[in-house]
Symmetry: C2
Subunit: 194 residues, 2 copies
């Protein structure tokens, strides 16, 4: 079973990072459908460390904008939704439910280097699942890491062990504003078969 | 434009992490098609730090197996291909070509904390693109982080600034050997809308 060419184009070949947005809202229902897809992507020991804040209201956007790099403020202000992709450094407390086959909590608790790497790696994987799930549902995505993580964490995650990773603008992009696509590395530059 | 339900099932809802593999090879052509899809996934400043080693021959597998955790050795031995997902900490040297609009190299060169975070975050995103691209092309994936990264790096990336991140078994899984699926967090446990 595989996807047809049209679907591969939507997900990969013709998908672009958008920065100019149509004035068209994204509903609660769309965000729930988005989560209900991306949640199935695999993580190590099913640890599911990603935590998401969908910043949509004007009031919430005003809390986010000062943390964005100057070049990322206008696209974030005008995006229908900006998803903050974060991860919970206490993810392992949920493992008795998420991974009931073994005492997976004990693999992490007290081992901070493993907690840190696992949270960042798997939260990032889930961020990529979010980007591709958005495209699969007909949304455009604009991922960005150009912002002040500490400011976002103070504003949105104070008093928790959740920390921001990157953000993804979501909505319906204006394709007429896209620049020509940048090149990618050839197979032999990025990969080898042994 | 969005994907139909069948495609969403293949990518997310019905896709599983496989550990038992059919004796059915994965061709060079399949690996090239896989790379030619996943390469389009977005990375920060188009930095494309992921480097892949597709470990397929018996000889190459013998170099990899001692680094795997005991519980991951048999599934890695029997997988038609094991992709080592790594990232190049000198990725920024390719930015004059990958991001020709600005002097993006200067944003990274000499700034090791930014290099480290960017390489790990974006290399991981590309690893997620690899997993979903494999599923889109009809392959099953079995991602794993249970191995000794230093041993893999010494064996496959000596003398370079490339370091391993995680590995992904690729092939055609035996669905009869799957366990029941583990639960995921509910929307309200992992996300909020502001």
């Amino acid at each position: 079973m595989q996807l047809d060419d049209r679907s591969l184009n939507i997900l990969f070949r013709e998908a672009r990072t958008h920065t100019v947005w149509q004035d068209r809202p994204v509903s609660d229902d769309s965000l729930h459908r988005l989560y209900d897809l991306m949640k199935w992507g695999p993580t190590s020991a099913n640890c599911c460390p990603a935590r998401l804040v969908f910043v949509r209201s004007k009031e919430a956007k005003q809390r986010l904008l000062p943390a964005m790099d100057p070049g990322n403020q206008e696209k974030t202000r005008t995006a229908p939704v900006t998803a903050i992709v974060a991860h919970d450094y206490e993810f392992y407390e949920k493992l008795p439910r998420l991974y009931p086959h073994a005492d997976a909590r004990s693999w992490f608790a007290g081992n901070q280097p493993v907690i840190d790497t696992t949270a960042f790696r798997n939260g990032t994987l889930q961020g990529a699942y979010l980007i591709l799930a958005a495209r699969a549902l007909g949304l455009d995505a604009g991922p960005m890491s150009g912002f002040n993580n500490d400011m976002v964490d103070k504003e949105f995650f104070a008093g928790t062990k959740v920390r921001s990773n990157f953000v993804v603008n979501l909505g319906y992009g204006d394709a007429s504003k896209l620049h020509p696509r940048s090149p990618r590395l050839a197979f032999d530059e990025a990969a080898r078969i042994l």
